[in-house]
Amino acid sequence: MTGPGAPTGEAARPNRHREAVEAALAAATDGRVRLADAFHRLFAVADEGGWQGRAASDWRRQAEQARTATLGTVDAFADACRRSLAGQPEWVPADDPRARHPGPALPAGGR
């Protein structure tokens, strides 16, 4: 409790909800990179021309839609996290529910 802007009153507690949102934003940012990489590798192989034809073109369109939707939803979640952070103090009174928030989600064992 020594960082800049740290409250001096004994009643101040870290905003655990804010910590959870910060962790969610970090996870969303990292997840977006991983998903974008996976799509990039997919399209790089597809661009080699090993599969051509009407069905391949249809599949390509669907894959592009899937990329847009997937990355878009992660971006939307990250934006929501940023908005949430903008309105949140780092410290809250001890009796604030955010001080009693369980904090960031534990890694689920996935990437």
Binding site: H17, A20, V21, A23, A24, A27, A28, G31, R34, L35, A38, F39, R41, L42, A44, V45, A46, E48, G49, G50, W51, Q52, G53, R54, A55, A56, W59, Q62, A63, A66, A69, T70, T73, V74, A76, F77, A80, C81, S84, P102, G103, P104, A105, L106, P107, A108, G109, G110, R111
Partner: protein
Amino acid sequence: MPAPANRVVVDPHSLRRLITAMADLRETAQAQARLLSAHVDATRIAGDTPARLRAAHAWADQDITMLRRRLALAEAADPGTTGPLPPAALRGVPDLYDTAEQARAAGRSLADRLLRPDPDRRDRSRLADLAAALSGRAADPDFVTGFYDRLGPSALAGLLHQVLGAREPGAARHGEEIIGRTLASYSRLRRLDASWLGRFNSRRRDDQVETSLLGPLLRHGRFASALLARLGELLFGTGDGSLRDVGLQAGPGGPAARGAAGIRGAGGAGDAGGDRLSREAFGSALLRAIAADPELAPTFSTRHLPQLLHASRAQSADVPAGLRPAGGWRAPELETARTELVAAAGGAEARLARPGAARQFVAQLVDVVAGAGPSEVSPRMRAAYGEVLHAWRDDLYAAVVSPLPPDPAALDAPGLGREPRQWAALLRESLRGGASAPLLAADAVAVGAGIDQRAWEQTRGYNGPGAAHYPASPRALAYHQANEVTTFFGTALSETAERVLREHATRQEEHRLRTAVMIDILAEVAKSIDFTSVVRTLTNAARGLTVEIVEDRVRRATAHLPTAGSQAVLADLRAGLRAIPGWQSRYRASVADMWRHRDGDPLRPVVVQLPGGGTRHYTGDPRADGFVTGPANDFTGPGGEPMDVARMNREQRTAYAAWLASPAIVANNDRLPAVLTAPPADVVPGWAPGWARSAPAGKVPPG
């Protein structure tokens, strides 16, 4: 590059990587869905992110199934290829089905339409529709499986009676091609066992096979090896007896409208040589299909080699016409296919696909031909022997030049454990056909030149400045071996010619023509051989001599073809050859003697330059020189001398052979010229090259 409309281009190798990339994406989407779902729960930020990620996972999962099916289709289009496949061009029809089950259901539905009763047999469009539907889906394994599973063997036989009996030859050919291609695929997808074959007849029996219906189909696809083998046993009468080959059936239950005679006459246009639905046509097609299967050809041919050769001998002019067997596997009409099978079983493809089986086949061929002695097989069979010898020329001559006696059990050793005299028998039988003689002569020259070249590479620089004088050149043995190769071939050629000359003198007029032409050809080959150049030998010889060309020369030969000139050429060849029997044992004895006296008469080291730079020092000691590396390959006995070669194991023999041919052993062997009796020109006893004479006595080169 966009593909034309209605066409699908698939590179299976690239598609496999696309599936891998798709699987990576699926796993990433699943992991992120789990992770962000936990964060959504923790932050209570509203949104559908986890659900959308799960949708991406589901989309990827579904498309992986679709892509895998496409890959199966592409691979089915070229099932014989392994490793990276070339792009397969498939017509757009496989896109009709998204899943394997949909394709199988469509195949079953097509079969159901055919199985519907059609007592008048007038539904011509039904057959045309069948051909069109099957043709578009021939590369779809699921459709093909669904179709033939539902149709069953008995209905298939009935269908073939209709298709092969179509009045328009074009329709029959198209139908047989489509059914041939798809049935070939089906045979690889399902095990068509004795139970299936027993029901392959139009009389609804369970123990009869209408093999003749398969004859026209076999050339249109790659049928499963197991099915071909089973049919082969049926052809040779070596099956388990549960099935009966009924050829082609007629009458009730069979081709009711026309009868077997009717379908025999139909669709045969352009099929010169007679009845394409005969047992003989089936037998030829089957043997050719087996020959085209490099996995099966060597094992099947090994099993039936005596029959294949017996059938060829039975057609010879020595057997009175009335006594020549006909029918079944012995039929003269099958001779070309029999010879193609022998050539394929010992050919390069079989050797690559099944090395062990191919070695066994060739060893058996050598054994059988050598054991039978001179015999009358067809000119085509002699040409097949030539093709086998060409593919195995390194083994043929390894047997000739090895300093060890052959080990008959060592099929994987160079020479296949066969004796030079056995290989010679096969070589003579092939040369007698004439057609293979130029190729086999070129092989002998190539092998001799190769031995020479390798000896030079292995002993490069041994006689450089500062080298000592050796009793013999370290290349002397290789020189002798190269001479042995040419002597061996020349001897076989001249012995063959002498046999033909004897026949020429004793045979009837009609056979004198053939023998006279043969003498001519063998003399031409003898004249063409230039043991210093493969290229010149091939240029001199009648390149591309075939059985057809030889037969044409026999036909055009006049009754009084002069043979005196040819006989003189062959006599010269005979006089110029010196066979040296038993040199191997004499050579081994000379090395053992030299080694026994090594204390009083030390061996001089030989230093050679290595290809990558640096030198190698050969002392003659089998351990110091790296030939004996441990107890497993230690060929020395009490006193450090080589033990009896008959008692050596495989590793000991290998190490012993390498040591016998090593530079220090060869170079120090002052008995060599006497042992080999035909020394190379530069190692005449009593002569030493300039570098040797100027070297100070007893000086050992550095290194």
